[in-house]
Subunit: 229 residues, 6 copies
């Protein structure tokens, strides 16, 4: 059982358009891996630019942060439905609304369950970590638009290096400095990392711009950054 | 009791950006009309460009029309949440999932209930008509980006004239020619008009680009096109 | 996958009594076809005389048309439960409340799901069409107490002939003249035919007075009226 | 707070037709009593002949007693909807599915909640008793087609006399002899009387053929049989 | 299909502590019997001392008997979750809330469904009897801390003898004398026995202090008291 | 609007018995403050020793941490029901299952909504913080068995002093060192403090052993430790 987190960052291009071709490739890859090999998986999709755009509006109009988080949750669920539509009859048709609902569904279907967000105060990364914990997943794969975790911000520091491995305690230190406005949970949020730590979940950060990387990570090839316990 | 249908066409500008200023003005107008005057209302919001963009992708990826309609329904619900965020504590916090759920909620709260779509095979106009029927609404106001119903398509025919009144039978003839792919229910769909006809619902088409028009329609001033029975 | 619509018209005799023997035969036929041959099906049952009787009372007592439709929906669900009781452990035990609920169930069970109505403004024929669309059914079989679609009303015109085939466009013309009071959706309603058209669903009208006709239609023998696209 | 149980026996005439006129009179009486006087009430409606007819069919077709009870529960809910339709906007629009759902609704609405059955193994009388217990009702009024509890069966014994009062212990002895096939819970079932006893609920049996009797019972006039503790 | 009722009496020791070792043994036994032998079962767990402790507090604080029963229902559900945790992936993760929900679940999963209570006015024994009836169970096994039904109370009468068989009519006489305060349904309550009687359910009382007894009862060895019809 | 978190630590005495007298006093105090003064509140109750006892068993039996958290959530909900029973008709009768459900309820009732836990990975303190955020509460009061936050652990250091005020940033530093096994979220967990910080919620820690302290905190008297932003 794998849990695959697909970051919202890889769904949209710079003009806020959905990357239809990439979605199509993901559908094919997921079909190959999980339908044919009988490996089981659950997918969590982020809200990405859709979430940020809608949250920007409700925040400007005076909504509180809990409500803004709900906008992000629902935007992520709409993105999740793109994958449901693309995967057709190997996907369960509705994204679940919370962890207990996911778990109940997981017990009655072999279809791939595709989730968006669950509840305010946590990111879709925490959703993915909770799912990995409750089903005792083999691995939690985190796909974003970067290659993994770097020693520094690669956009600012030309000497920044990708780390092949990173101790969970170091990941926690990194995350401690992050802010947590609704819709802004860069990298991985506190709640998520806390769950990964307490249940020693095997977590790997990989670049999701190419669906082949997903295949590599699942077949155990070295790629991205692996978090160690 | 008024039912206000806000077409998705007025939510987005030409660059697919949300019209935040307009949303803010709508929030103020609705607050004025319904909070202060004690008139009761329900609002139905369309999916607009968000729906079309997401449906285009699922259709291209091979989803069936029922599923594409579900994308449109959920996109409309995300748009509905913009109004919920903007209206704050005078709005009920979740868009209902179907008519029976709407009706149950309507019986337990005086807050404004804001809906998106309900189910495949019908547009958000049918949602608005169903709501107007089940609560025996005084009026159903349909807000789009045009001034009402014209004698011809004003974009093509310079002699096209806005009709101040139109018999329901003539509206039906107009609609009979429309196609019904998921997400494409121009003007008003067959299911919607059928409900309007059988229950003789007072229906008025107005231009929603200016929230003041909503105020005018509610206070009974002549504007747009009124459907007669 | 077949969708079978069993019209309420064939459930009751002239004295408003349920046709127990026919129900028993249907249970046997359905058991034969779908349990043994591994073909999958969903069944939609109409409200028939039960619906009409109860709607007549609520209409007389002043309920609105949306509410009268709800009476018809619930009467159809009670009829659906007759089939659930007759089919026992090959049927799912509860009729679903709407299309999304049907679809979710369809993904978690191989049992036969038996539906009544879903929501006001549409007949149980629209329910059947929606189901056929969302599961991409092989065929939608419509069983009533007549042999199919005639060139004229056979009760009034002795020259009326059964049509073996009928183009969807001609079916639409036929239906355009129908009225739509709650509980009165003769033949096939507008919403239903619209769904059949847009998704090119294979639709066949057959006489349901004899369950053998169902067997014939499923095994591809010519019977009743086939709608062509 | 009053709980009114309307026995299915008074809804149908000898030809299995609904007594529309009586329903209309009940609607008026209930409107008078509960809408104008600000007394609060909940109503439970029995399944009557509709339940018996449908249960007879599922029993003949081989369904088990639990399922037959479900037919009765749903038939009672359809009858409950007749009252909802007749009472319009002073009634909550859906019959609740179980006691916990009733109680939750009771806490969020002042509308009259109208129930059918709840769950297999108990009659609608047990539903009424449970409701009376959980809301600590002033009185539980049981309306059937007889004047109250007699010293013997008035159809068989010309000397049978109506008892104005009856001790709960004597009612229990009477009931101990009853059988309990699905749909056949004559007078009052064991579960119901057990609840009445343990919570010392004020229970009164009255003739419901005339809605005026309901008015009398609520205003405290002596009528029917009062159960004493 | 077996229904196993595990009385709350065997879950706690005299100091109100949970018997962890016994729970662990039960998990192993149930795993052996039902996972390996492909026999299907449903389990109902009682509230025991936890229920009595919490009910004592709400009763003292003035809650009504229906609410006290709800405390017992929820306490039993918490105990049910102990078995869910112990059985892991062969158990369905949530106790159902009522019989209809149980039945729906039973149709979509092969996992063991573990229940607590369902609704006020009935004990968890009635829950077990209802479940046995709706799934037409082979046997209903009732596990408590005594060896079965005795001719007299063994604590008071040294001549009391365990009955190997007992006619249902005699069981009913025994039960008729019981009281029914919330949380106090000694042996077997009236609603439960009524269901057992009408559907001629094979009921056996056995001592649950040793999980091996469950194995014996399921493999048909004589143990405890068998109720005959 | 106040949110009151009642720590599980104050519900049980050293022998694991419920403090009935304290519960009764809380019921009276809450009735005084919120029923008479028209101030609105929501209450969150912790799982305390009940949660720890049940989690200890499921952990020993091999359940994963997510499931252990669910045991804690449900234990907290059972404790919440004690307050519901004690408050009677001024409390909503069911603890909500998640934040969205709480928020929906909050919009349809003026009754006091009493919550237990919501979802794995967060404590009941995070539940309380989320509620305070979504309803924009005036104050979040955290009641435990200590007087507030100390400069050191008062059990170990005789010089430890109660802090009247504490900056949120210092609270965060304190919490950073805590572990997070299921059921063990001492003082305040990371998710909770993160919500308090981002929405600048007024948070006060007070000793809940005496209900009078609640009265003091609500009327603005200095007590315990106030967190400043």
């Amino acid at each position: 059982m794998f849990v695959v987190k697909i970051g919202g960052s890889i769904l949209f291009d710079k003009e806020y358009q959905l990357k239809q071709k990439l979605l199509s490739n993901y559908a094919k890859t997921i079909r190959n891996i999980f339908s044919e090999s009988k490996k089981k998986c659950a997918i969590v999709v982020g809200g990405g630019k859709l979430a940020r755009k809608y949250i920007a509006v409700t925040r400007a109009l005076g909504a509180n942060e809990a409500y803004n988080d709900i906008m992000g949750i629902e935007a992520a669920k709409l993105n999740a439905r793109l994958f449901i539509g693309a995967l057709g009859d190997i996907a369960y048709p509705e994204p679940p609304n919370n962890l207990q609902e996911f778990h109940a569904l997981f017990n009655v279907t072999d279809k791939i369950i595709i989730c968006g967000g669950f509840q305010p105060g946590q990111s879709t990364n925490a959703v993915a970590a909770s799912i990995a914990e409750i089903v005792t997943a083999e691995k939690l794969l985190n796909l974003t638009d970067v290659d993994g975790v770097y020693t520094a911000d690669p956009d600012k520091d030309p000497n920044a290096k990708l780390m092949k491995e990173l101790a969970i305690s170091d990941l926690i230190s990194l995350i401690a400095k992050q802010t947590t406005k609704a819709g802004q949970y860069p990298l991985f949020d506190k709640t998520a990392v806390q769950i990964v730590q307490r249940s020693k979940i095997v977590l790997q950060f990989i670049n999701g711009s190419d669906p082949e990387n997903l295949m590599k990570a699942i077949t155990g090839k070295p790629i991205g950054t692996l978090i160690t316990h």
